[in-house]
Assembly symmetry: C2
Homo-oligomer: 457 residues x 2
Amino acid sequence: MSLEPVLARIDADLPGATDRLLELLRIPSISTDPAYKGDCDRAADWLVADLKSIGFDAEKRPTPGHPMVVAHGDGDGPHLMFYGHYDVQPVDPMNLWNRDPFDPAVEDTAKGKVIRGRGSSDDKGQLMTFVEACRAWKAEHGTLPAKISFFFEGEEESGSPSLIPFMKDNAEELKSDIALICDTGLFGDSTPAIVTMLRGLLGEEITITGPSKDLHSGMYGGPAMNPIRILSQIIASLHDENGQITVPGFYDGVEELPPEIAAQWQALGFDHASFLGEVGLSVPAGEHDRTPLEMIWSRPTCEVNGIWGGYTGEGFKTVLPSKAHAKLSFRLVPGQDPHVIRDNFRNHIRTMVPFDCEVAFHDHGASAASKMSIENTAFEKARIALSDEWPNPAAYVGCGGSIPIAGYFKEVLGTDAMLIGFGKDDDQIHSPNEKYDLSSFHKGIRSWARILDALSK
Amino acid sequence: MSLEPVLARIDADLPGATDRLLELLRIPSISTDPAYKGDCDRAADWLVADLKSIGFDAEKRPTPGHPMVVAHGDGDGPHLMFYGHYDVQPVDPMNLWNRDPFDPAVEDTAKGKVIRGRGSSDDKGQLMTFVEACRAWKAEHGTLPAKISFFFEGEEESGSPSLIPFMKDNAEELKSDIALICDTGLFGDSTPAIVTMLRGLLGEEITITGPSKDLHSGMYGGPAMNPIRILSQIIASLHDENGQITVPGFYDGVEELPPEIAAQWQALGFDHASFLGEVGLSVPAGEHDRTPLEMIWSRPTCEVNGIWGGYTGEGFKTVLPSKAHAKLSFRLVPGQDPHVIRDNFRNHIRTMVPFDCEVAFHDHGASAASKMSIENTAFEKARIALSDEWPNPAAYVGCGGSIPIAGYFKEVLGTDAMLIGFGKDDDQIHSPNEKYDLSSFHKGIRSWARILDALSK
């Protein structure tokens, strides 16, 4: 089966592929907010119908949360399992969007055409690159070059609570020769990247209770402890003057980067100044003796993702609140055990709360970091196929984000996973005005067609 | 004109007086939230109509904000100006109310009957004690024992932006022999109190901007500065290890209490343990070498009244936010200039913000502390009248809250002000389930009847 006509068909069908993606983007499948449960279900139905239309045996599979979509094709050869997620992040603050996040469109920008809308890059646009590659291949040759399966979840943006139980319950069906995951980005604008190292994620919510009820700050201000003051002391203390995290034992087991990987990263010529400059910053905020690229790809971090307490509306209210809250997350690297870190964090916080006040913790999920097995020959085949499509040769890179599915494929199913994606740093994923370059979408589809070809040989 | 029949009429008309208060409480006159502008106007109309029904020449007077209510009676003798405010605090968090805050009712409790609802104590219930005293006097004797005026505002809970301009524009009309203000409390359950010292209030809102937009914490966590981290460092640094405020020059001009006042306060037998114990606390949070009563009545403080930033909804979102916000207030004592302290605070904060991040300030009002002129003979007359009504003799006390109107009467009109009120510490003003004891309302009305009698002689 020849690759060239498949690529030509992909080029010709780009308008159709774009329309299909826009249809999927119109479904507001926000998994973290129960109000959108029905929309998550609709997105799963849409995918099942679309995969059936290409000849896949596709099913929506229930879970205690949002459903999975599992589909199997009729091809022969190596078994390739493609993973993506159809759920998206919340859209607030709405006022910063230049259009309705769920009324997507192709927009002309100074940097070229982009598909604008929530989920365009993370992960509906990326997910559809693989679907469209299969559609083109099937349309051109009547069959696929390999045994291809799809596995889409709808809870990736809310901690994937159903994922491991589902994988365990359906292990035989989901095992494959390699899992392909499209949820990452290019390096820069034109260097395709295969991720070989992913950070883990630990999410915690803390609630500090000071007085047993909201008080008048004129009547109690001074003698009554303000929980916002305690929470601020805790957050302020989590980084030391060198930018290191102060949770006891936090760096236990964290390894330095192997010199050859460090050298390869160095050679990528990452522009640290532009990376920060694009978001209006100039001073790296993390560990003082690390470069931003090291911080993102290979160092553990701690962020406050949300904080609230007291009166936050219009005007002013002289309240001394009873409670203050924060959502925090730790990005973890290989060698760190999320459960040990959670225990250490909670014990550390408890020592900072006055004995007449209280702290409560809420668990928002934990996943360890993962390292890929690049000894699997699929990695080198894919690297060469990607290098054929793009201006620059493909690179093995790290990733600051947490895509625990890669580790789960290995741990639960014994399957190696390969992460290849076409997002860009300016895609504004998780932010207002998310976009996916039309060129990412187009060349992403072509890239998968090439990788399918390479892996089938 | 005899006092006794007036007191008897007050006792007989308590059910009617209570019904009238409930009517006023049903109007949700939240001044800080523009959504309730029409309701503030309705509350003013209600007061005008009620005062007219007692024979006052009452008018609603427009301002750039919520209207004033001004009314004049037809009596002779000394001119007494009564001040109160018809606006109320916001009601969130709604889920902590045991009834609709604007569907008030008289409830039986273990401690006796209470009037439950937003504004029942602060300040509609208190304001109506004076109106009802006048109603009874007028009904009994056909006239009032003094020349009585009313001056009600609707912006007290949102910084009184229109108050000083209105007082200046209507200075001749508003001048009187003494201003009477009912917006304070009893000392304990049965000791009437005349406030001779009030703290001032300085309100500030700060917004820290880190990155120019919300970021993905996986992609930027580590190198990009998180504004919540800066804000927490700022808040954590505002108190030192002894509980003192660290803003430079904050204590300049703050005087120690005169020994005779300190001795008088000592004699009140304030129960510090119960004061904190009632709100679930046991460790005083303020200056380590001060008692809670000193902290509240005579020491300046700093509180965070609200904080917010990042994702605060259901679930979790791994955002690294662009902005973080806090509303802070300082309670000030005589000798402190609010404008100097605002400048010092802002300059101090600016030194704590990294040069590639930004801080913006929003002014939420400033008023200096005030000390009353107890040389005015009205103070001693009122003290004796109050002592006749209540089980314990009346005391001269301080007040932790900020009622800038007292200072304005002196500064703008040259009129001494006397603060007498019947609230209790457990009234939950500014909090869910605000109440006013029916006994506070009843004996409050009787107290004003006695004071009117005393001041007219």
